[in-house]
């Protein structure tokens, strides 16, 4: 086989490139790897910013009646924390990772529309700046220090001009709107790439599961983001042109916003978590040394999640007074989404059992993901149960639940992915020892922070309160949560140090440091601009396995 020949390394540099030229190269690039790297880097910067915002909130809530923050400051912080984490941490990291990985994994030269890809990135970038500019420009000439304080789901009519003065909410609308256009364009780009640019031999059912999951994810992006954009434009009309879509006093409907927002909002959380699934689906087999268990069922489960997730949005609205029948229907659809998710869970564990697991950092984080996502998924079943939801909806139980899914799940999966693919992107390995320390600190810190929130929620503590009275009996659980944050901070600092250090001093990785099986490991680390010197040809889902085991190739069994 002449396939999968290693490309020649990058051409030897002729003298140092001037700083300005290098910056120019990054700003004008349409290369999917560079854009992906920029996405992920921005995402991690915003992760730090939004994490610090959360830290300040936990400081305020560590004890009843603290006056670290004023109510306005606290309300702005949780709005910015939520908005940033969803739109400017989760989205860019998943778009960035997919950007880097999809072409490499399907053996393509780049995405289908490289310039559209760059356009999408810059829309995201400037959208995020627009949101954060609200801290300076939210009150126009009246002063600094304002930002949107309407919560990340911005319920009407709190966002109407009557209740939200100044322009901070306008910045919230525009920032997300602009970034959303970029994400939609990139989603279309991914779909076109995956459907049209796979290498020779890679039928849909021979794609790596990451590509499958990102395909479904992209479809969800294209389905879910435009309704949000429409809703935001309606809101902007309300605020700036005197329309009355959501203004209940003038005949608008406050509930309409909730429907529009969650019609976007629920698929959105699947858009965020599916890439997490994708990462661990690639990582667990490699470190268990076993092929993924039940590939066709994994594909089916992903498609099922995609379909069901657009039909569950009203489970965010069980407490708004829908009819019993509607409540029951949405409870059913929500519980149903647990089935394909459970299938994935079982298949990951079945892949591990009978394997010969190497617990290097990516596998550690993946295992952490499995346990924590399991807990988050189970509390999801709790919340799907309408009567229980009537109690804890909008309480700290919900905060605990979605942090188990998005932090314990997604962020741990992201760390798994960063440790796994960092060597491919940079050519250097991250430090394993620091990575393991970071893992254990995050594991303890995370559970200490978000575990107790389930309890405080069931003890009656609503979310988004800037203070509480001592006689409510929530102080112990809140103190635990805040202590957990300190441990997390140490963990995150280790990560920052690890990345900066390894970028320059890390061990040279080589092409295939993990002895993996998918196409990206067949090219150099970092890959050349054109990715592969020769167009790869594949015969199975694990082309490098076939190469390494010519006597026992995969395509005999698939």
């Amino acid at each position: 086989m002449s396939v999968l020949q290693k490309p020649a390394g990058p051409p030897a540099a002729t003298g140092p490139v001037p700083f300005l030229s290098r910056m120019h190269e990054w700003v004008t690039t349409v290369d999917h790897k560079k854009l992906g790297t920029m996405y992920v880097t921005c995402g991690i910067v915003y992760l730090i910013i939004a994490g610090l915002e959360a830290t300040m909130m936990r400081w305020q809530l560590a004890w009843p009646g603290q006056e670290v923050l004023s109510p306005e400051e606290f309300n702005r912080l949780f709005t910015m924390h939520g908005t940033t984490m969803v739109f400017f941490v989760g989205m860019p990291i998943l778009l960035g990772a997919a950007n880097v990985l999809i072409p490499l994994m399907i053996g393509a030269r780049d995405l289908a529309f490289p310039r559209l890809n760059a356009f999408g990135f810059w829309l995201f970038f400037f959208g995020s700046l627009l949101l954060y500019f609200s801290y300076f420009g939210g009150q126009g000439l009246y002063g600094m220090g304002s930002a949107p304080d309407v919560g990340w789901f911005a319920y009407a009519p709190l966002t109407e001009r009557t209740f939200s003065r100044g322009h901070s909410t306008d910045y919230w609308i525009l920032g997300i709107f602009v970034a959303g256009i970029g994400s939609t364009a990139t989603g279309i780009n991914f779909i076109a790439t995956i459907l049209g640019m796979r290498c020779k031999g890679m039928t849909l059912m021979k794609m790596p599961l990451l590509a499958w999951i990102m395909l479904i994810d992209s479809v969800l992006i294209v389905v879910a983001l435009p309704p949000l954009a429409a809703g935001q434009i309606m809101l902007l009309f309300d605020r700036l042109l005197g329309a009355h879509f959501f203004d209940a006093q003038a005949g608008g409907s406050a509930l309409l916003w909730q429907n529009i927002f969650w019609f976007f909002g629920h698929p959105e959380v699947y858009i965020l978590i599916l890439p997490g699934f994708a990462f661990v689906t690639e990582i667990i087999p490699v470190f268990s040394r076993k092929v993924i268990f039940g590939y066709p069922l994994m594909v089916a489960a992903t498609v099922a999640i995609g379909f069901i997730s657009v039909g569950v949005w009203a489970h965010h609205m069980f407490a708004v007074g829908l009819s019993p029948m509607l409540n029951a229907i949405f409870m059913g659809s929500t519980m149903l989404v647990g089935v394909p998710t459970g299938i994935k869970m079982f298949n990951w564990v079945a892949t591990m059992i009978g394997g010969k697991i190497r617990f290097e950092t990516p596998m550690l984080y993946s295992t952490g993901f499995l346990c924590q996502f399991l807990l988050g998924g189970l509390t999801g079943i709790f919340l799907a149960t309408v009567p229980f939801d009537w109690q804890v909806s909008d309480s700290y139980f919900v905060v605990g639940h979605f942090h188990y899914v998005l932090f314990g799940g997604l962020v741990f999966a992201i760390f798994a992915a960063v440790y796994y693919w960092f060597p491919k992107v940079t050519g250097r390995l991250l430090n394993e020892r620091l990575g393991k320390w970071q893992f254990w600190l995050l594991l303890i810190g995370f559970n200490l922070t978000f575990g107790p929130m389930h309890v405080s929620g069931m003890l009656g503590m609503p979310r988004r309160i800037y203070t509480y009275h001592l006689d409510r009996g929530w102080e112990f659980w809140n103190l635990l949560s805040s202590i957990g944050v300190i441990i997390q901070l140490v963990g995150f600092s280790l990560f920052a140090w690890n990345v900066l250090h390894s970028l320059f001093k890390g061990r040279i990785a080589g092409d295939d440091p993990w002895d993996a099986w998918t196409l990206e490991w067949s090219t150099t680390s970092p890959p050349p601009a054109h990715n592969f010197d020769e167009d790869p040809v594949v015969h199975s889902r694990r082309p490098l396995w076939d190469l390494k085991h010519p006597d026992d190739p995969d395509w005999k069994y698939e």
């Binding site: 009646g65 109510p71 608008g252 009567p387 069931m458």
Partner: protein, 341 residues
């Protein structure tokens, strides 16, 4: 202020909070959903135990499987051979598709029954009907049949012969709020373009607390609810007292004149006077309430003066402005307010 209690008192287990000049209430228990006081909350708790049982079992099984893989399926030192490649197994995969489906079906049926039991569209016979209006950031309770409007504190009667039903009609004056007293049952959102209903039940006297559960702006955290469940006789006495117009006390006439001359009357009602504003709590029987500012501080003479002096110091961001009265004028107004028993 009251909030500055600090760690030390908590660790020493000292009783906290100062004595109130208004009606003093016993401390309320933690608003835990595990301590239900009526049927809705009890039904929800039953479903919760079922959930904990089923989901707990699933979680335990999964954690055991993961634990087994982590402990027993590691690569041994020096073992470089790949393990057997298992591509899947139709019967096994079918099993973990069908069994979860069956579990979901059972859970769905049980919970759906809960929904239809708890979501009542008409009041049960003999229930107390109250219209609750959410305002930024306080609750208005309108006992329609009784001609009483009060704020922050809801009084509910209970007879010896069993639990009392409570049927709330929920409206909002501005943005979305949510009415939640966990020990009585689930919450219900209060949305400006909707009229919602919530059936609750109480089965023992006592003081119970809850608060607004839907983010509604600046002082969302201090939009508290206190419910006083009391024997029928006490409730009737309270109703009779509430139905009276504001007391006339010539000794504090100057304070009353000042109040009526200031723009207080644009927002507040004091029945029996010209003050008939509806934007803010009815003050006709202010001193029958144990807290001010919707629960933010106890109703003591000092707190009342602090509040009238500048509400923004007590509840920053609330809708009541400082009326720029002098300290003497504040004293004058408060001496009248303190007669509104």
């Amino acid at each position: 202020m009251v909030q500055m209690c600090g760690c030390v008192g908590w660790l020493a287990g000292l009783p906290l909070g100062s004595t109130a000049a208004g009606a003093t209430l016993p401390a309320a228990p933690t608003p835990s959903m595990f301590d239900p006081v009526g049927e809705p909350a009890a039904v929800i708790l039953d479903i919760t135990w079922l959930l904990i049982g089923i989901c707990g079992a699933i979680g335990l099984i999964m954690l055991c499987l993961i634990g087994f893989a982590v402990l027993r399926c590691r690569r041994k030192e020096g073992d470089h051979r790949e393990p057997a490649q298992v591509y899947g197994s139709n019967p096994i995969e079918l099993a973990w598709t069908v069994v979860p489906l069956m579990i979901v079906f059972v859970l769905f049926m049980v919970s759906a029954r809960g929904i239809f039991d708890l979501e009542k569209t008409s009041p049960p016979e003999g229930s107390l009907e109250v219209t609750v209006t959410g305002h930024r950031w306080w609750w208005e309770f309108d006992y329609e049949g009784l001609g009483i409007v009060t704020a922050g504190e809801l009084h509910v009667p209970i007879d010896d012969d069993g639990p009392a039903d409570l049927y709330l009609t929920l409206k909002s004056a501005d943005v979305a709020h949510s009415f939640w007293v966990p020990q009585f049952g689930g919450k219900m959102d209060v949305i400006p373009d909707r009229v919602n209903h919530l059936w609750l039940q109480v089965d023992r006297p006592g003081v119970f607390v809850g608060q607004c559960a839907e983010y509604c702006g600046n002082q969302h955290a201090n939009m508290l609810i206190t419910v006083i469940v009391e024997p029928r006789a006490e409730f009737d006495a309270w109703v009779a007292a509430q139905q009276r117009e504001a007391v006339e006390d010539p000794a504090v006439a100057a304070g009353k004149r000042l109040f009526l001359r200031t723009s207080c009357i644009n927002c507040h009602t004091v029945r029996g006077t010209v003050a008939n504003g509806t934007f803010a709590p009815d003050l006709t029987h202010l001193m029958s309430r144990s807290t001010i500012g919707s629960g933010v501080v106890p109703n003591t003479p000092e707190n009342l003066r602090e509040w009238v002096w500048d509400p923004q110091l007590v509840k920053p961001g609330c809708e009541m402005p400082s009326m720029k009265l002098s300290r003497d004028e504040v004293d004058l107004v408060c001496s009248w307010l303190e007669t509104l028993k």
